[in-house]
């Protein structure tokens, strides 16, 4: 019987055995290839082949299988698939906090590029804790992620480098790839892809802009130099100072967490202590928002009395009045680039650090928060 149209699910003589696991409408768990094969009266690989479409199957058989597939609402099991060959097709993503605008942009870029390439995204939040970050990467490794992308700065000590390098090698050996995004490389010979932005350059550029406007006392506000992101911005600030022949003053550096609340508080404290600056370089836009509030509440005009610049160029920066002059960072681009590099180069383990090292440009976005310092010295 080569081509029975099968009005009923085909029934082959006494071999029928149509209810091996009961009326299968009440099956617990999802239908497997076996269930489908059984219902269609074919073998398991045949069903697999109908699905994959990479092998000739008679039209009548194909139709029968497709019917069974539909009736049983078959859904493939990714794990079994991943086990048998090609990885799981996932890209992992480790960041501090999804709620940060910059991180969200990163994540968006990554997700976009990943899904464009048919990959799924695994998300892990570290809360900025290095241990949790390492743990997260370990989890991702278990998942067989094709790439593990770690986003954002870090407190860069010896222990971190050692452990992350180990992980990089382990990932590399497993055919996966560690990508550091917005974070410096780990050193020679460590198999890592690095996607950075010109952080120091951006900081240099905004600081220069303040200096060019005539400011000499620029408060560096926010962050903590132990953190790579802050450190690089700090470096740009210092270099600009040097180039303008302005001496660096330790008292003009004020720490603050990267959130509105803490920034507001710290700026208020600083203002209470001394008003000995004519401008503020806030290390992020969010910090700038908090600072702006404190400045305004203290009766200072921005930019009339005090100029203010930020960093990141996140959308809410356009809510501030005056509109904030800031540094644009191509976060989404970086995310996309990270995925692209990781997926394209994956596997050719001949690579070492340096080959997969990209540096994206930043630029100052000039808006309304910078003016020349007030004539006398409002301090």
């Amino acid at each position: 019987m080569p081509d029975v149209p099968s009005a009923h699910p085909i029934t082959l003589g006494p071999v029928t055995n149509d209810f091996p696991e009961g009326a299968d409408s009440k099956r617990r768990g999802r239908a497997t290839l076996k269930d489908v094969a059984h219902r269609a009266g074919v073998s398991v690989p045949t069903v697999s082949r109908v699905i994959a479409g990479n092998y000739p199957v008679a039209l009548s058989t194909k139709r029968r299988v497709e019917k069974a597939l539909r009736e049983l609402d078959y859904v493939a099991n990714t794990h079994a698939r991943a086990l048998r060959g090609h990885g799981a097709g996932t890209v992992a993503l480790v960041l501090q906090d999804v709620r940060g605008e910059a991180f969200a942009q990163f994540a968006h870029g990554i997700e976009e590029e990943a899904s464009r390439r048919g990959r799924l995204c695994l998300l892990c939040v570290s809360g900025g804790d290095p241990d949790r970050e390492l743990q997260a990467v370990h989890l991702m490794r278990q998942q067989g992620a094709e790439a593990v992308i770690v986003i954002g700065g870090v407190v860069d000590d010896e222990a971190y480098r050692r452990r992350m390098s180990e992980i990089a090698r382990s990932l590399d050996q497993a055919g996966s790839r560690l990508v550091l995004c917005g974070r410096p490389p780990l050193g020679e010979g460590v198999p890592v892809t690095v996607v950075e932005y010109d952080n120091e350059g951006g900081a240099y550029a905004v600081t220069s802009r303040l200096l060019a406007a005539g400011h000499r006392r620029i408060l560096l506000f926010g962050g903590d130099v132990a953190h790579t992101t802050s450190a690089q911005r700090f470096a740009g600030y210092r270099r600009a100072l040097t180039d303008y022949g302005v001496p660096y003053e330790k008292d003009l550096v004020v720490k603050a967490a990267f959130d509105r609340g803490d920034a507001y508080l710290r700026m208020r404290e600083r203002l209470a202590a001394a008003r000995d600056f004519t401008s503020v370089f806030a290390l992020t836009d969010v910090v700038a928002a908090g600072a702006l509030r404190a400045l305004t509440e203290a009766g200072l005009q921005v930019p009339g009395d005090v100029s203010l610049v930020g960093y990141d160029d996140v959308p809410p920066a356009t809510d501030l009045r005056p509109l904030l002059t800031t540094v644009h960072v191509p976060y989404e681009d970086m995310g996309r680039t990270a995925v692209r590099l990781a997926l394209d180069h994956r596997g050719d383990s001949g690579r070492v650090a340096g080959e997969g090292h990209v540096l994206l440009g930043t630029h100052v976005v000039v808006r309304d928060s910078v003016a020349p310092p007030p004539p006398a010295g409002t301090a």
Copy 2:
């Protein structure tokens, strides 16, 4: 030889065969249990038992295995594990856009609760496209996610309900759970968990506040009533109007996308057409930000000339001047709740819609953007 301390990786007579796949330092791919077992001179299950720790293993054996584990940098294969029993321990997350503050808060709550329970998060972005959303859910189903959480409103038509209901049933049958977050249920008998917030109530409350301040011409600004989130807020607005005996006017409803740019443009258009309102109910804080900019640029004082309220109470709302009166929505809580409900109730398929339906409260956050309408009628 019961207890050899094994200075060297144990060597058993002629059976040694220590290099079956070459000097294994150069193995491609990750080390498997087999590799470890081989190196430790034990069987595969023994290694598995050492790792799981759920079966007695002689101390000397255990030590030997642990050494091999370390030396080979063994990492378990989640897929194999997931295949052989318990699921993969993942929770899936489908949302429109990570960059939205509200979504990000959702995601944060979900990630937090999920990782607290030892689950990993799968992230999918739909871009607000129903087809991509369905497709995403399908992918998650393949992954065997323990819960699939879909976040945010939707254009609620017949096709959507039918297809989502199917998916809900399919997920349920597979021992998983569909959770609708910030989105209405699908109807009787559909196995879905729903976590909503009192959207209509919040809208009623803010609108009432404007009415109580004396406003009679309130512009409902942003969104599109086809979308459930907008529709509910619109309903609250109308109910408040009714309760205050204020007639509803179609001309006071203006559509706008949920982003600053479009909101700014639409408000500018509306102001150019007619200034026939004394207050604005922006459907989200971001829309309020765009509206505020247009209002200010048009020379209107907020709240002196026009009062403004928002919805969502996201952090950047505190950047606006005046500080925005808005409605607080417990997004993070909702995320946590979604995970909790899905994971706790999972499996007892006796449930139907209704049991897993939670409604979280909202409340107005009073700040500085509402005042009585100007005496004459600045319109």
